[in-house]
């Protein structure tokens, strides 16, 4: 894939900003425009910027967990929030409020809608990651499979491990890590 230096650098700057913006949407959503869904979409837009510059590998490196884990965690959080009041004898999705008084920040009101929204946020991100996983361009990955068909990945985890941790390292990959090396979680 041909890379543009300007695009790469500007995405490096943009990515964290958009993620922060998306978190702002998530947390302010209850009282101002925003919410988990919009926040998730904004974060997904940031992820797609990463895809444009670094391909599927860059997208995978953005998160430590696999896309399906994020997706499942999100749904679990939302459903858990919905069901939790039932366990206490209330109605489904009955909301509760918690007022915190941390120093400096003054009063912070947390409603039970927030974890629900967090779940929605994670599901949206997970969905987009999954779609990238499904249709994204993973030419490196395919190359590797064609080159070494006798050694298939022995587990799902291994298949999604960053390329640098796998052997044998290909030359092609060396060029990619020149730009993206610092992002690796190792």
């Amino acid at each position: 894939m041909r890379r543009s230096l300007i695009l790469d650098v500007s995405v490096r700057l943009l990515y964290p900003s958009i993620i922060v913006l998306s978190l702002y949407f998530l947390f302010s959503g209850h009282n101002q425009p925003g919410g988990g869904f919009v926040g998730g979409l904004a974060a997904s837009a940031a992820i797609s910027l990463r895809y444009v510059t670094g391909g599927l590998e860059a997208v995978r490196r953005s998160f430590r967990s696999e896309p399906w884990t994020i997706l499942g965690t999100g749904l679990a959080i939302s459903v858990g929030t919905a069901i939790f009041p039932m366990l206490l004898g209330g109605a489904i999705l009955e909301h509760g409020t918690l007022k915190l008084h941390p120093p400096v920040l003054g009063e912070i009101k947390v409603t039970s809608a927030l974890p629900f929204d967090v779940g929605v946020y994670l599901v949206v991100i997970g969905l987009v990651l999954m779609i990238f996983e499904a249709f994204g361009d993973d030419r490196d990955h395919e190359m590797e499979m064609i080159e070494a068909p006798t050694q298939p990945a022995t587990s799902v985890r291994e298949e999604y491990r960053p390329l640098s941790q796998r052997e044998p390292a290909s030359d092609q990959h060396a060029a990619a890590s020149f730009w993206l090396g610092q992002d690796e979680p190792s």
């Binding site: 399906w68 919905a82 809608a113 949206v124 499904a134």
Partner: protein
Amino acid sequence: MFLLLLIHLLIGSAILLSGDRLGRRAFIVAGLAPMATIVWAATQWATVVGDPSALDEAGHASAGTAQYESVGWISDLDLDLYLRFDAFALVMTLLVSGIGLLVCVYAVGYFSHIEPGQSRLAGLMTLFAAAMLGIVWADHLIALFIAWELTSITSYLLIGNDDRNPRARAAALQAIFITGAGGLALLLGLIIIGQSAGTYRLSELIDSPPSGGAVAAALVCVLLGAFTKSAQAPFSSWLPGAMVAPTPISAYLHSATMVKAGVYLVARLSPIVATTGQWRLLVLLVGSATMLIGGLRAMRQRDLKLLLAYGTVSQLGFMMLLVGTGEYKIAQAGIVLLLAHGAFKATLFMLVGIIDHQVGTRNIRELHGLRDGWMPVKVMAVVGAASMAGLPPLLGFVAKEKAIDTYLEYGDFTGATATLLVIIAGSVLTFAYSARFVLGVFGVHGDADNEVRSLSAPAPAAIFVAPAIVLTVVTVVVGLFPALISDLTKAALLSLDPDSSPSTVKLWAGFNTAFAISLGIIATGTLLAVFRRPVARFQTAAAQPLRALPSTDDMYGDTIRAIDWIARRVTRTVQSGSLPTYLLVILTTVIVVPVIPMVAEFGDLPQWVENPIHLPIVAIIIGSSIGAALIRRRIAAVVMLGAVGFAMAALYETQGAPDLALTQFAIETLGTVLFVLVLRFLPTRFVDLAPAVVRPLRLAVSLLVGAAIFVFAIASTNARDDVAEESISVEMVERSKPDGEGKNVVNVILVDFRGVDTMGEITVLLVAAVGAVALARGSRQYDNERNDREQTEEPVA
């Protein structure tokens, strides 16, 4: 009772969860559940059986008090779990748990080689026992049905436990297809009976029998269920197939317990409905056919286990003939036969398992006699087979004597004489195949051409033989002293039919007609056994013309193939695989179903332009839509669609809906990116391959969809005018802050007022994501494999 069921479920699940860690010790653990049941049943014995020999002033006998338990289940549907434990349930419990316990001990000896999946058998067997006890104890038709289906499922899993063996898989499928189909019919029948009787409680049915025109049909359905479960003709083909299961499983499920579920149900219902509809006629016809066919086929088997399987089919037909007539005296003989058959058939299956295990074959042509250490096995084979053949002084004889005697005395309904003849003929056949079994075990049928292995086979270990010894002792002792079970069977009969007056079970009833008939059966049977070669030749010759007819196995195969064929044709028609066709169907439905009724609602048009800023925005929308439809490059069309979306977002913004605008904006951005992702797999330009006729059709549908959405929008805005009360949105805005703790009403609706909707939506998102990955990854995997092949394979010159 619920506690016992729970113990079964817990032990079963625990064994299943432990994997292969327990090995064959799993069967010892599994044995705890039936042991607990037996101990409990023993403590209840006196209460349940009572003193059925004592008569009250009116000359009526009565059984002890039955135990009832109930647990609320789905109270909204008026569906509670009722359990009842009466004397007949006690009889069945003895069979289920008694033989269950012995089979568990036996299995420890049988599975001496550790293989993966063995402890799974133990766990499934415990779960099966719970389901079977559920059938026997259920006092509610629906609960009975659920337990009934659970036995089918566990039986399927047990037969197919060796999942690498294609024969086991096929047999398991055949069993669950046949019993499952019968189960569906049963459900229908039970519901009709429950509705027309006004109660689903079995214990109340006897006082309020079902009435009405539908009951006759319901009874046919119930019988279908019972016949498939109890392997009656013509549904018996699954039972011999199920013999691929390990022998402990066959001994337990397919001779002693599960196949008797049908008999149990018929016995329960017969006193109530025997004279309704065609119940008795059907039972007599099917039972007779089953008894004769099973006996005839058992005489032709070389595999000892299959011989017993067909013998079981024959005996199940016999039991149907006894319990299904509605004559209580005859039914008592059926109860004795239930016990006798459980004892001798389980013994014989265990012996076959022992021989199979030690010698490595159960083909009578390959058995050439067994050495000294085998004495107990030989003796038990003779005793068991003699009980099966109905020789005195064994339990099987007691049962058969009582059957013939009661049929002679009380068989005053239509077809009783013919049925008696069938029973006599069937008993002759039973004698003949019992003799074949014994001769097979002793090696008389051995063929010199086959390898001699049985003479050098090691004798079985003590624990391996012990369970069979216990059952043999039961057969002999209870046969000698039938008074031991006399009260039990009387009480069981009284719990089936409170108006009956049961008689004592006796070994020796004097030189009556029944005894003379028994002597005749023994004599004829002996002749058949002595002249077995001519008989076999005759049977082959006589069956020759029948071979042209399809066998039940063929019919089963043809049915499955026909269903497959129909399913394929339907799928091919409905799922043509053409995306445009699907879209056409979906869109036409959208126009026709919801929108056409709305045309009536179509009323005043709103003001055309509210705000001058709308004009350029709408111009962009219209222009881009037309562009998207006309343009031939895919990527350009996607960009045009994106422009429509962004313009819509702007429209929302001008109308004062920042939240909607924000969401629309984000979705459009992401949607375009994802579109581009997928576009890489498609040609860059649209190429229309459809025939010329289709294009105007598509155009028409598209225009209609546009018009329909227009109608929909107008009609739904006007819909509020017809209703007096205020729009719900007003209330939502008012309640947003106090009830939802949020100033953003859109978000409060999403996460609170309509939170369950959102939950459903994100679930859909999750499913869609998993589906997308599975489809895309799956198809790409395939492409990769193909690429690999193309590259690694040398082109063939």
